[in-house]
Amino acid sequence: MKPLVERLEKQYAGKVEFRLLNVESDAAANDLASKLGVQYVPTFMFVNANGVRAGSQVGEMTEQALTTSLNALN
């Protein structure tokens, strides 16, 4: 999953900000996950420019599913 996400991060540079949050090693990430009700990893959350959650997906995502969700944000 990591290589795909890193590739898409470059592809969407300037269009979508990627925040990759390790809930195991990062206490702030863990706190945010709890506040947002994240129960499983990986969880992907898509937020529009106004800070409103546009969607989320629990579990691994295919490239097609990721790009569809990312494109929907713009």
Partner: protein, 153 residues
């Protein structure tokens, strides 16, 4: 030639008898029972201890009520003083770490071991979180954001 044929027939017959029974000539059988969500609840009602072998971070994000957190890499040391005759239901996220944990516990002499089939992916009940989900508004810098919550394990 005839002796060879006889031996082939004998070996084939032995294999036909042993393989369906799950026998292995190389290692002892290490089967364990898998349960679904209801099976876990039934076992818990009868006194089984539920053991979550995911990481502490994953556990905090949500776990089965009444479970204890024993990350897979600590199972051997944590279980050293547990009652070998007790019943334990082991689970993780998808079933990989719980299978490893069950094998470790079997080698330690535990015999009443159950595994949640498919891990939390197959769990249909509720999960307990340390903090209830809040209506989070994520601050952005004027452009959309994709967050990925993950662990290394």
């Amino acid at each position: 030639m005839r002796k060879t044929i006889v031996w082939i027939v004998v070996l084939a017959a032995l294999a036909a008898i042993m393989l369906p029974a799950g026998c292995s000539l190389l290692a002892p059988a290490t089967s364990f029972k898998q349960v679904d969500s209801q099976g876990l609840l039934d076992a818990q009602a009868k006194g089984a201890q539920i053991v979550d072998v995911r990481s502490e971070g994953e556990y905090k994000l949500g776990h089965i009520t009444g479970s204890i957190n024993v990350p897979v890499e600590t199972v051997q040391s944590a279980a050293a003083n547990w009652d070998r005759s007790g019943t334990y239901v082991i689970y993780c996220a998808s079933g990989a770490r719980s299978a490893d944990s069950v094998k470790v516990m079997q080698s330690m002499g535990f015999r009443q071991l159950l595994e949640l089939k498919g891990g939390l992916n197959g769990w249909t009940g509720k999960l307990v979180t340390e903090d209830q989900p809040a209506a989070g508004v994520i601050k952005t810098a004027g452009k959309p954001v994709m967050l990925e919550f993950y662990t290394d394990s």
